[in-house]
Amino acid sequence: MTERGTTTYREAIREAIREALLRDDRVFLMGEDVGVYGGCFAVSLGLLEEFGPGRVRDTPLSEAGFVGAGIGAALGGMRPIVEIMTVNFSLLALDQIMNNAATLLHMSGGQFNVPLVIRMTTGAGRQLAAQHSHSLEGWYAHIPGLKILAPATLEDARGMLAPALDDPDPVLIFEHGGLYNMSGVPRPGLVDIATAALRRTGDDITLIAYGGTLHKTLAAADELATRGIKADVVDLRVLRPLDDATIMESIGRTHRAVIVDEGWRSGGLSAEISARIMEQAFYQLDAPVQRVCTAEVPIPYARHLEEAAIPQVIGIVAAAREAVAA
């Protein structure tokens, strides 16, 4: 017997899309298998039946083509939601995303906004091997002109789409594949797409995470608490632009930080955050900033190797304990 109001991350996103389709007739969903099949991760199940093929559109296997079409539709006044199956495949559309969606406003001297939302799955942990499991959101967070969201909670899964569609510029939403089955009762409340959130408070150390690593990080904070180490857990939520103020406020109290990122360490988002901490809070630091990232290998297929490659609770706890020298 499930609790009343219980939903999953998958259902929360579906409900958000449904609401958007109902609220604004300029909104439509487009992507590979989003219609008849109901979405590769079953996010859009039932929407074709409810809204018809004009607003829930199956596309050929051509990421550059349908992302480009989405950009064109956005320029033409529509509010498209384009789904890309995984972030690995989005590289086929990187030219459209970077050279068109992200740049047209600037290149047109401010004349053309591109009000496009692109959703895609990211992350490892499901034995889908190296071509379906990478975490490249940090690459997209490098690109000016884009807003990058990483919903990690039911509330954000349900609430981030509407402000993303309201944004006049391109917004990319990264849904971690390991979260779709997460269930619970979402708390009501407004959701923004501008700030990081403090998911737990404690004054000994700041743990910074987002997306798929948030829940491992919260679990690590639980375990640290049993050892008397109280952790702040910052959920970044928005990877670009980063909410520096929330991060620095936390470090101003804790003086130590661990960054958890399922992306690779070298040149990644964790490196950027670490650099900002050094730039903005150097004199608050009482220990070197620690990073827990994915091993620098293509994500392995074998379960034990995949688990060993990506951040896990035990590694986060160890890094935090090293930072507090406990």
Partner: protein, 461 residues
């Protein structure tokens, strides 16, 4: 043998210098030093200058700790056993007229014979190791050698540095500064033995210097996102240095214009012979060894100054003091702004290759702020070459207490009458700003004519 002692005083490293800061001692009490050894680094506002000792002997004590700013003439160290090599300490504003040329090291037998009280271990080390140690401000005598025969190795120097540096977190360092806690005595409890904030607070509580632990820690303004942070103090340090240099130049130039009755002469010289000779000479040389026209201009000036000694020296106490040697000051503009004119020693008697190498070295060191004291004080006449900037001529301001400044403009092609015919020739305008107290126009004219003659006979340079 009586033990004489002498003070090592804050030297005047230029007419505009009123005070200086010892930034680093390269010797310590008990060290044997020889005349010419570099013993301290002094910050003159214009540059960091490595200063040589005028004495041979033993450093008895250092009187001024690094970082303190003291007026010129203040005793900085006492050197005992200062024997006959003692040069009387130089009064401010009066650089030695005949300074020691290259460092002449006395033969070992010339060392003071009295035995030093403690058998000071003379550390055996390679030049590389000595260089490393000097650069890092490490005293080799304190480093335990692990090489054959107790030799100090490179690794020893590097490890010694690691050991000597306190490892502390940025927060701990900040707190220590705020609470007045000396980090060097603290035991770190951090992961790799680093001193952490907690260690500092506990030390402060123990010594009673800090505030009670119950009080909240000092509030430090956190930057708001997107708000530009104040730049680090380093930058304001650089600005301060540039401001200080500006003030130093202002003092010297104002003094010059206030006290020196300048007269100005100029002549335009056909540079055809000089450039032709230079082209022929450079043709067979690798790029690194080619000569620049500037070197010929410098050499000709130095030779002319040697032949017209009344322009080569100093005006001190209402009298001219000629210099035996020509130490040619070369005006070098610095990247961050400002100007410095260190000396090329004995420029009149060095060959062109030597002078070229010396010029490169001097410019490089001037720009990295590592000049020698002798280079700062001993210029006897200065050359400024603004030709690079495209100007045709320079009417310079004399750097006191010198009595002449020679300026070169850009080498330009101009219509030129030669042997009754008009041709296009490269020409360069040479100017002289001279102190009318020391010389008259006649002398200055002779000097410029000599430069012209020498530039027309480049093979004799």
């Amino acid at each position: 043998m009586t033990v004489e002692s002498a003070d090592f005083r804050m030297p005047s490293l230029g007419a505009d210098m009123e005070s200086g800061t010892v930034t680093e001692w390269l010797v310590k009490a008990g060290d044997q030093i020889r005349k010419g050894d570099v013993i301290a680094v002094i910050d003159t506002d214009k540059a960091l200058i490595e200063v040589e000792s005028f004495h041979t002997g033993t450093v008895e004590s250092l009187l001024v700790e690094p970082g303190r700013r003291v007026p010129v003439g203040t005793p900085l160290a006492v050197i005992t056993g200062a024997g006959p090599t003692t040069v009387p300490s130089v009064p401010p504003q009066a650089p030695p007229v005949t300074p020691p040329r290259r460092r002449e090291r006395p033969k070992p037998s010339a060392k003071p014979r009295e035995t030093t009280p403690a058998p000071a271990r003379a550390p055996v080390a390679s030049p590389l190791v000595r260089h490393l140690a000097e650069r890092r401000g490490l005293d080799l005598a304190l480093v335990r050698g692990t090489g054959p025969g107790g030799r100090v190795t490179r690794a020893d120097v590097e490890n010694a540095e690691l050991v000597s540096r306190v490892t502390a977190s940025p927060l701990a360092r900040r707190l220590a500064a705020e609470l007045g806690v000396d980090l060097s005595g603290l035991h770190g409890t951090g992961h790799t033995g680093a001193i952490r904030a907690q260690d500092v607070r506990e030390a402060a509580a123990r010594s009673g210097t800090g505030r009670p632990r119950a009080e909240p820690e000092p509030v430090v303004a956190m930057p708001a996102a997107g708000v530009e942070r104040p730049r680090a103090t380093q930058e304001s340090g650089l600005e301060q240095r540039q401001d200080a240099m500006r003030r130093a130049i202002a003092r010297a130039m104002a003094k010059s214009k206030r006290e020196i009755p300048h007269y100005y002469l100029s002549t335009t010289v056909d540079a055809n012979a000089m450039l032709g000779w230079l082209r022929a000479r450079n043709r067979d040389l690798p790029v690194a060894r080619r000569l620049l026209p500037a070197v010929l201009l410098l050499k000709a000036t130095a030779r002319a100054a040697a032949e017209v000694p009344r322009l080569n020296g100093f005006w001190i106490d209402d009298a001219f003091v000629a210099s035996d040697a020509v130490h040619l000051g070369v005006a070098i503009s610095l990247k961050g702004g400002g100007l410095i004119a260190p000396a090329l020693h004995h420029a009149a008697v060095r060959d062109l290759d030597d002078l070229m190498a010396a010029l490169k070295d001097l410019a490089a060191r001037a720009r990295t702020g590592r000049l020698r004291g002798s280079e700062m004080t001993e210029a006897t006449i200065t050359v400024t070459n603004l030709g690079d900037q495209g100007v045709e001529s320079v009417q310079g301001v004399i750097y006191p207490p010198q009595v002449a400044l020679v300026g070169f403009g850009k080498i330009l092609e101009r219509p030129w009458a030669v042997d009754g015919l008009l041709g296009v020739r490269p020409v360069v305008t040479v100017t002289l700003a001279a102190d009318h107290r020391a010389t008259d126009g006649y002398t200055g004219g002779r000097f410029l004519a000599l430069i012209e003659r020498l530039l027309n006979e480049p093979e004799t340079l």
